[in-house]
């Protein structure tokens, strides 16, 4: 009961504005794909096109092997959960759950409908609510009913349109977990639209990032986080704003990043940064790309602490370099750091993101041939997991 979904050069215009341009995207059967992007980026348009609620101007949309461009939503065998749940206000929970079963042309015996509803209600913890009306339910309960209504028909493709955005923070984390469990249990293809990167990173098998109607990157959460394809992705994904610096890598006298008459020392590592030395670059720095080091470390530059923030087990240290570049990094909370401290920092080579300042595209580094490459994923994976937890 699962199928693939494919977009081939799909374009959608509203008036003269292009909401989606030439989208190519393939979702394999059973995948959980998040469409992530700021509002107006085209992710909801993509979902609407797939659901059949919007008609494409160009290109083809396939569900399985079938081109569905001229098939209405009712013929696409999909299920969808809407942002505001779209529960039928004049029907009880039971009737809402029964609706997809009764709406399909073929009549099902009422006993079958009842047993299916009982099963779904049980799975979602709804049995006591079946005879209530939507307005008598809490937000979380409504959310569950909406999910249940989508599940009840066991569709091949599940579409979820920001389903958690109306819930409070804690409930959201729990539902995230539940949805993921649900996916594991039913194995349907799921397309999930969100503007919340934590949701996307924590649940998806792959993420498609959209901006201004264009697909920016389509890859696994790990790839997205650690190898953002361009400045937009690098900036959009991550716990807090990424710092971008214009400059160039220099290897003389030691490996460093030259920027604003300052040399930010880079500690030795597994990456071949020397390969791009000299050319103008845009450097993207997240917190994990800066490390506090002892003053006598081989690579270090002085900074002054300007502000500190407690973030759970860690503290975030904001520090200013000699020329006033404001960096930030994360250190365990037990380190005694106070405002005004003069410390030393270094850049972590594996966590640096380099971009072409003209195109904004990521610059790929040739890997070093030695075995140190093994260390990289582990460290990055830690950082990624960390980021997910913190953005929640």
């Amino acid at each position: 009961m699962t199928t693939s979904v494919q977009f081939r050069g799909v374009t959608k215009r509203f008036g003269s504005a292009e909401a989606l341009s030439a989208l190519d995207l393939k979702v394999e059967p059973g995948e959980f794909v998040s469409l992530l992007g700021p509002s107006g980026s085209g992710k909801s348009t993509t979902l609407g096109l797939l659901a059949g609620l919007i008609e494409a101007d160009e290109g083809e949309i396939l569900i399985g092997d079938r081109i569905v461009n001229d098939i209405g939503p009712e013929g696409r065998d999909i299920a969808m959960v809407f942002q505001n749940y779209a529960l039928y206000p004049h029907m009880t929970v039971f009737e809402n759950l029964a609706f997809p079963l009764r709406a399909r042309g073929r009549r099902r015996p009422e006993s079958e409908i009842e047993s299916r509803i009982a099963a779904v209600a049980h799975a979602l913890g709804l049995p006591d609510l079946l005879h209530r009306y939507p307005r008598e339910l809490s937000g979380g309960q409504q959310q569950r009913v909406a999910l249940g209504r989508a599940m009840i028909r066991e569709p091949k493709v599940f579409l979820l349109d920001e389903p958690l955005s109306n819930l409070d923070a804690r409930l959201r984390i729990r539902m995230r977990h539940d949805i993921k469990a649900l996916h594991a249990a039913i194995g349907s293809t799921i397309i999930y639209v969100t503007h919340d990167q934590a949701e996307a990173l924590s649940m998806s098998s792959r993420i498609a990032i959209f901006d201004k109607g264009k697909l920016q990157q389509y890859a696994s959460p790990f790839e997205i986080y650690n190898r953002p394809a361009n400045i937009f992705v690098a900036n959009f994904v991550g716990e807090r704003e990424t710092l971008f610096l214009d400059g160039a890598i220099a290897t003389d006298p030691a490996l460093c990043f030259r920027c604003r008459d300052e040399a930010l020392a880079i500690r030795p590592g597994a990456t071949n940064l020397g390969a791009v030395a000299g050319r103008p670059l845009k450097l993207g720095l997240r917190t994990e790309a800066v490390e506090l080091v002892p003053a006598d470390a081989p690579a270090a530059f002085p900074v002054t602490v300007s502000q500190i923030e407690l973030a759970g087990p860690d503290i975030i240290v904001y520090a200013t370099t000699g020329t006033g570049i404001e960096l930030c990094c994360r250190v365990p909370a037990n380190r005694p750091i106070a405002r005004g401290d003069r410390l030393h920092a270094a850049l972590v080579p594996e966590a640096l993101h380099l971009f072409d300042p003209e195109t904004g595209a990521a610059i790929a580094l040739p890997a070093l041939e030695n075995s140190q490459g093994r260390r990289e994923p582990a460290a990055a994976a830690f950082a990624y997991k960390d980021a997910v937890q913190r953005t929640a």
Binding site: E55, E60, I67, N69, D70
Partner: protein, 289 residues
């Protein structure tokens, strides 16, 4: 329909179906418009026919020798004066209805006062009183007030007839305006009246337009009341002048259709210009409330 014809083959089947559907929709929309407009288009065509052509049988669909003689006649006989009367009357009615209507609607929507709910129900009841049954008594009463055969009297009648619907629409609309805005204004020291004027009314564009259009449709087109309540030429309104072409010794189709077309154009223009607001005002106001 050779499959190998290059232009056709390049367009995928789903796209052709999509286009077909869009075309069919447009055709249906056109058909709706045609059914609605056909009699009026016939009137338009008739207004350009020469008098002899008007009397021919079977009638021609389009004028054989289009002429402006009927329109010229209308302006020779001073139709612009009747138009002016109608414009004035419509404006007075709309202004009166919106001014009195928004006052009353505001009080009913936002102030708790004894009798308020009853008044609301009375308004709904008043909206449904059939006018023709009131004509004779109104005539005698208006004569006693000395308001017969005057634009003032007619305007007051129109306002009284249309106020309930204006209040109804505005009341619904005011209810949709967040009350927090008003609390803010009142905390800032605005009186009830100032709140209405400075906060509520500026936010009520669509509601005012919807109410105004209902009112203007009536005031611009009414001839039943106007024919009964006025007699002198100085206060003759356009619909009464049109009605006059249904003369005692036969209808004069030429001037009749020409004046009807003249009177129709302004309403249509106003409605097309304000259509969006109208529906908006109705949507969030009058019906949903």
């Amino acid at each position: 329909m050779r499959p190998d014809s290059p232009g056709k083959a390049a367009i995928p089947l789903w796209k052709r179906r999509q286009r077909m559907r869009a075309l069919v929709r447009r055709a249906i929309n056109l058909a709706i418009a045609l059914v609605a407009l056909f009699p009026i288009l016939w009137g338009l065509s008739t207004s350009f026919k020469t008098t002899p052509e008007l009397a021919t049988f079977p009638p021609t669909l389009l004028p054989a020798h289009p002429t402006l003689e009927h329109y010229a006649l209308l302006f020779r006989t001073g139709i612009e004066r009747y138009m002016l009367n109608s414009v004035f009357l419509s404006a007075a009615t709309v202004i009166g209805c919106l001014a009195f209507g928004s006052l009353a609607a505001y009080a009913m929507a936002r102030v708790k006062f004894r009798g308020g709910n009853t008044l609301l129900l009375v308004i709904v009841a008043l909206m449904s009183i059939p006018l023709p049954s009131l004509l004779v008594p109104t005539f005698t009463f208006l004569a006693q007030l000395g308001l017969l055969d005057s634009l003032t009297g007619l305007a007051l009648l129109y306002i009284a007839y249309q106020l309930p619907i204006a209040v109804w629409v505005l009341y619904g609309y005011f209810l949709t305006i967040p009350i927090e805005l008003e609390h803010a204004a009142r905390v800032d020291g605005y009186s009830r009246f100032a709140t209405l004027r400075k906060v509520i009314l500026p936010l009520s564009g669509p509601g005012l337009v919807a109410a105004g259009l209902f009112v203007v449709t009536f005031a611009w087109n009414d001839f039943v009341v106007a024919v009964a309540m006025t007699s002198s030429d100085a206060v003759r309104t356009l619909p009464v002048a049109i009605y006059g072409y249904l003369g005692f010794y036969g209808r004069e189709w030429g001037p009749l259709t020409a004046s009807a077309i003249l009177s129709t154009i302004p309403v249509i223009v106003v409605f097309i210009v304000f259509q969006r607001f109208f529906l908006g005002g109705m949507t969030s106001g009058g019906v949903k409330s």
